[in-house]
């Protein structure tokens, strides 16, 4: 871990009790925090140089009945990365927006709403972004089965050629 990352973690610990820190490699740390502390932690990290938001994404832990929200922050000063993770209830998939911290969050959140069905308080623009006329479960949820969906939506096409006969002709076993 870089010095700056160590210092930042110390400062995080001062505002968050029982901070779970996992060092992934020397410039990458994952911290798990309770949902209500996420905004504070993100603001603190942004103020400590980890101001570049790489991505906001989510993981569907269907067996735990949780969505894990993941914010990845990066510092151009020392190359350190913080993976800030929090788990929210899958049934009441609701969180708060961070668009006031990073304007692009508005779109990441809109994407998460579209693909996971998570809504973000304070971000009203939840129109579909990538999918058109979508009529099924949010597709990145684990209970959505794309195979079933495509079988339902798209016809199958079958070949009618006798490939083995043709192969035998090519091999010279049979005369075409």
């Amino acid at each position: 871990m870089t010095n700056s990352m160590n210092n930042t973690i110390e400062r995080l610990k001062s505002i968050i009790r029982n901070l779970k820190v996992e060092e992934i490699d020397e410039r990458e740390v994952k911290i798990e925090i309770k949902p209500e502390m996420v905004l504070n932690a993100l603001s603190l990290l942004k103020g400590s140089g980890y101001s570049h938001l790489s991505i906001i994404t989510a993981v569907d832990w269907i067996e735990e009945n949780k969505f894990e929200l993941v914010y990845i922050l990066f510092s151009w000063n020392d190359g350190g990365k913080f993976i800030v993770s929090t788990k929210i209830d899958r049934k009441k998939a609701k969180f708060v927006t961070v668009k006031h911290l990073w304007p692009i969050a508005r779109y990441y959140e809109r994407e998460l709403h579209e693909f996971f069905g998570i809504s973000f308080e304070g971000n009203d623009d939840m129109r579909p972004l990538f999918l058109e006329n979508w009529d099924d479960l949010p597709p990145l949820r684990k209970d959505f089965d794309p195979m079933e969906y495509s079988k339902k939506k798209f016809p199958d096409r079958e070949y009618h050629k006798d490939v083995i006969h043709e192969a035998k002709v090519i091999r010279g076993d049979l005369n075409g």
Binding site: V70, L129, L131
Partner: protein, 367 residues
């Protein structure tokens, strides 16, 4: 005159890939703009969850056409980070060669990118023809021209032979010799100066606030390049520079790409020199490829692509397939907030230039 709604795309000669912008114009000037992605959404992230670790190799390069290798490297490096695999040194050097070749090929494609909107078709033809020579290298090294499917978790699939090395050396010499022609044709061209200078301005604060990376950010004067700031592979063992500019306009962004080609050539030459002999891969895990497993874990890997920070966030539950992979498309910020907030004020004829030099890339945004 009232406001007119104008559709840009989804097919447009100044735009690679399918991407649409709804523009509300008054006169020649864009008043409001709305990005409309989704035409290239193929559900890669979902598809990856349903394929074996090794099988995904055939899928991921398709996220980005001009520079498919960044996907392979990110995917491989993320797995290696989770599984703590020590990749043989030679493989790392070969990966760097491939990445830099891909960077050259992709930058070459940026000449058609501005050739189209400007009507300077010679630069388009040259760019495509010279890029093809890089594709020839890829063909002999990896066995395929566009989607190489060559960088695998644990290393690369085959070794670099002396014959291919010769081809690389010769091609690099050729391209280096060709670059001044591009400078003459494009960068000293009065029309290009008139059309690109001062256009599509982006200042440093905005770029940083939006999260714009790559040449878009470096054209505002900061030398932010992940290869230097958060080095991966052996980028900390080679000598190269990060070209920067201060104008923050379309011209400087394209010119930085041009300068980066020189740097890439320099890096590849060092790689060829420093590369040790040895194995080029280790198996991802025990057993056959049908039963490769990656231990439980999460990792985020990002690299400097031609368009900026390209990243993979990967989650493994210890099984034979990825549990979740999220892809950070490099041009995500400018494609959305950029188009919505900073395209307004641009004249209609400058819109393709804006989109092209801002590196709006639909396939990586849509995924």
């Amino acid at each position: 005159m009232g406001e007119v709604k104008l559709f840009f795309g989804p097919n447009h000669p100044g735009m690679h890939g399918n991407f649409s912008v709804h523009m509300y114009v008054e006169g020649d000037t864009v008043e409001r703009a709305r990005p409309l992605p989704g035409f290239l959404h193929r559900g890669f992230e979902k598809l990856m969850e349903r394929r074996l670790w090794y099988q995904n190799l055939a899928l991921i390069p398709r996220i980005c056409v001009p520079e498919p290798d960044i996907n392979e490297v990110c995917y491989a490096m993320a797995i290696e980070k989770i599984a703590k695999i020590d990749v043989p040194e030679r493989a790392q050097w070969i990966r760097m060669i491939i990445l830099e070749l891909a960077r050259i090929a992709s930058h070459m494609m940026s000449f058609p990118g501005i050739g189209g909107p400007l009507g300077l078709y010679t630069s388009s033809f040259w760019g495509v023809a010279d890029r093809d020579r890089i594709l020839d290298i890829f063909e002999s090294l990896t066995g395929a021209r566009i989607y190489h499917m060559f960088i695998v978790p644990g290393g690369v699939r085959k070794d670099l032979t002396p014959k291919i090395q010769d081809l690389i050396v010769k091609t690099l010499d050729y391209i280096e010799g060709r670059l001044p022609d591009y400078e003459d044709l494009i960068f000293k061209n009065r029309i290009v100066h008139t059309r690109l200078k001062g256009i599509a301005l982006l200042d440093r604060e905005t770029a940083l606030e939006l999260g714009v990376t790559g040449v878009g950010l470096r054209a505002t004067g900061v030398p932010y390049d992940i290869r230097k700031v958060d080095p991966y592979l052996f980028y900390d063992k080679v000598d190269f520079e990060i070209p920067t500019a201060t104008d923050g306009d379309a011209y400087s962004r394209v010119y930085l790409k041009y300068l980066e080609i020189y740097q890439s050539i320099k890096i590849i030459r060092q790689c060829l020199e420093k590369m040790p002999e040895g194995k080029v891969n280790v198996p991802l895990s025990e057993g056959s490829a049908l039963r490769y497993k990656v231990p439980k874990g999460q990792a985020y890997v990002h690299i400097e692509s031609t368009r900026g920070e390209y990243g993979y966030f990967m989650v493994s539950d210890g099984g034979e397939k990825p549990y979740r992979v999220a892809v950070r498309g490099a041009s995500y910020p400018q494609t959305f907030i950029g188009v919505e907030k900073y395209l307004p004020g641009t004249r209609i004829e400058d819109v393709p230039i804006w989109l092209s030099t801002m590196d709006v890339c639909a396939p990586e945004v849509d995924r």
